[in-house]
Amino acid sequence: MKLSDLEGDMGGPSEFLDQPVSQDLILELLNHAVWAPNDGLREPWRFIFVDNPYGDIMQGLQEQAPAYLLVLVNAESDQHKQEEDFAAVCCLIQNFRLLAYEQSLGVRCTLHDWMYESSRTEVFGVLNNERIAAVLELGYGANQSKGTTDLPETQLHFELL
């Protein structure tokens, strides 16, 4: 598939089917996604895969999903580097979303306030020198569409210097 020809709703399905998500598939996609640009090849990321077959571990924090991927970003360097590191992780996530879309795996990419509270994140094994950049809700959607929906034209804010 050519990326420039890719169309469709990348927002992820609104509801997931009761179908497990394979760890091997996620690792396979991540091993492509880590080819994101990152300053100084710091590779400032780490992953916590939450296998959630019975669906209660994220209750009150996230929407229901068969699996979650916590994408962590290093948070120990100076502010400028932390900003670059967060940008690198965002690129990795974008890679992952595109690859998942190709596999019909639904991804809802979320950022919520609880991710800033260490008392909540340490439960999942997030260390002191890192923080959650985003939580990806993973699963197969009943309504996963490929290029069939007409999305409203998004506005581009483009100006000349």
Binding site: L3, L27, C90
Partner: protein
């Protein structure tokens, strides 16, 4: 080329050739990248484009303003500074991205993340068209004169500049750490 191959093949391009970059193509790819970015809110980021010789010169002047006026900068021989300037002004196009600052940290992070996701998508699509880019966040350029020069508004945050051009040779890859080495599994408890 598959998506995985594309993602693995893309490199940061520090040296481009003099082939001009078509502004129409840049706009078209930005539009497509905008549609594929994750946090889906419109108006959360803005692009300023420098593609004409005049605009490029203005951009490079404000990028290097701080350096040329600093104590160290004044010690740099004028000729050397000119060489440095020329290296940047020779780049055919620059996309400057700024994201909207929200009322709280969450909105800031979402908008910034959306801009970054769009930029990565734009870089990948550019690569498909033979365009190379360098994502520049160099701290040296981030100062008041530069922000003023690019027209950064009070409610905006600078995300990065993509220096864009066609290239003759892509640099070799640098190996990545396998995801397995940065991976932990947490199992949900049954109730």
């Amino acid at each position: 080329m598959s998506l995985a191959e594309l993602i693995r093949a893309r490199r940061s391009i520090r040296k481009c050739n003099s082939t001009p970059v078509d502004q129409e193509l840049v706009v078209e790819l930005l539009r497509k990248a905008n549609r594929l970015q994750p946090f889906g809110e419109t108006g959360s980021w803005r692009v300023v484009y420098a593609g004409t010789p005049e605009a490029r010169k203005r951009l490079v002047d404000c990028m290097l303003e701080q350096m040329s006026q600093s104590k160290i900068g004044k010690l740099i021989p004028g000729k050397l500074l000119d060489v440095f300037k020329k290296r940047f002004t020779d780049i055919p196009a620059h996309v400057i991205v700024m994201s909207t600052v929200g009322p709280d940290r969450l909105t800031n992070d979402r908008n910034y993340a959306a801009a970054c996701g769009m930029m990565q998508c734009f870089q990948l699509m550019g690569w498909e068209h033979g365009l190379g880019m360098l994502w520049d966040t160099e701290s040296m350029i981030q100062h008041e004169g530069f922000f003023k020069g690019i027209g950064l508004r009070e409610d905006e945050r600078f995300v990065g500049i993509l220096h864009i051009g066609y290239f003759d040779k892509a640099p070799r890859s640098r190996k990545r750490t396998p995801a397995e080495q940065k991976w932990t599994v947490l199992r949900g408890q049954s109730t």
